[in-house]
Symmetry: C2
Subunit: 139 residues, 2 copies
DNA sequence: GTGATTGCAAATCTTTTGCACTAAA
DNA sequence: TTTAGTGCAAAAGATTTGCAATCAC
């Protein structure tokens, strides 16, 4: 599952994104560690922790460039904060309301039996399913 | 479907919300005109247009009080802006990405065939399905 | 070199909050 | 009266943008 460094570089190049120091470092953080969901703030924190110097503005810009390039998927489940998902395949999410965490649902575990016809002149861009979870009351 | 004024008043009272001039006016705007989806800014605009003087801060507070009381449902589909839905029954949404509009999907038109088991100690609070639509390319 | 990218700080946008004032019960 | 609710302006977050400095090619 782990891809070699040169692959990240190629993936950026393949999308027409110049592989700058910052983009490479962020791409490695994001794409070489399985499926994760991060906010811009969190990714900035991860970078800082690893000694990568990058501004928060660049993190935001980079996340959106990666999203536009199809390397990430943006998910909004709560007001005031976007998550970015490194899993860009067709899948849905659990959202833990108590901890504000997202988790992927294995594709086959949710299936939509019937989809309504999209209105005339429209086509379906994407279907998002979010299952919101709370902790059971103790006792 | 249209309920009389006194009913709005009773609904507020029933929820323990003191029926102030502002709350009554906003409740009438929201609850006496079928199913709608509004942002705080839009509702404030609607109120202003009808000559109802109410501050944007009060609109925000009121929307959240109504949501907590179960009179509205909050929906987030894009970063930086919440919608409030007057339809609080179980249903899902179309989201028109081009115009940033929401529309209800009739309940029976979407059905989820299989739901994954919620993780241990968790229960499902709500399932949100958003079908994102774009206009077809002309030509 | 040259144009794309970055960093910073300032700007923007949505939403929340503190607090004196007003109104409902 | 007494307490909840309102308005305003200021604060708080998340995100974006302008622009000079820097980097990839």
């Amino acid at each position: 599952m782990q891809r070699p460094f040169s692959d990240v570089l190629d993936r950026l190049r393949g999308k027409g994104l110049r592989p700058t120091r910052q983009r490479l470092a962020l791409a490695k953080l994001l794409l070489e560690r399985g499926d994760i969901h991060v906010t811009a703030e969190e990714l900035h924190g991860m970078a800082t922790k690893e000694g990568i110097r990058v501004s928060l503005a660049t993190v935001y810009n980079t996340l959106h460039q990666f999203t536009d390039a199809g390397l990430l998927r943006e998910i909004v489940v709560e007001p005031g904060c976007s998550y970015f998902d490194t899993n860009v395949s067709d899948h849905h999410h659990f959202f833990y309301e108590d901890s504000a965490r997202l988790a992927d649902i294995v594709g086959a575990d949710v299936s939509i039996a019937r989809l309504p016809e999209p209105p005339a002149g429209m086509h379906v861009q994407r279907v998002d399913v979010v299952i919101r979870l709370s902790a059971n009351r103790k006792g």
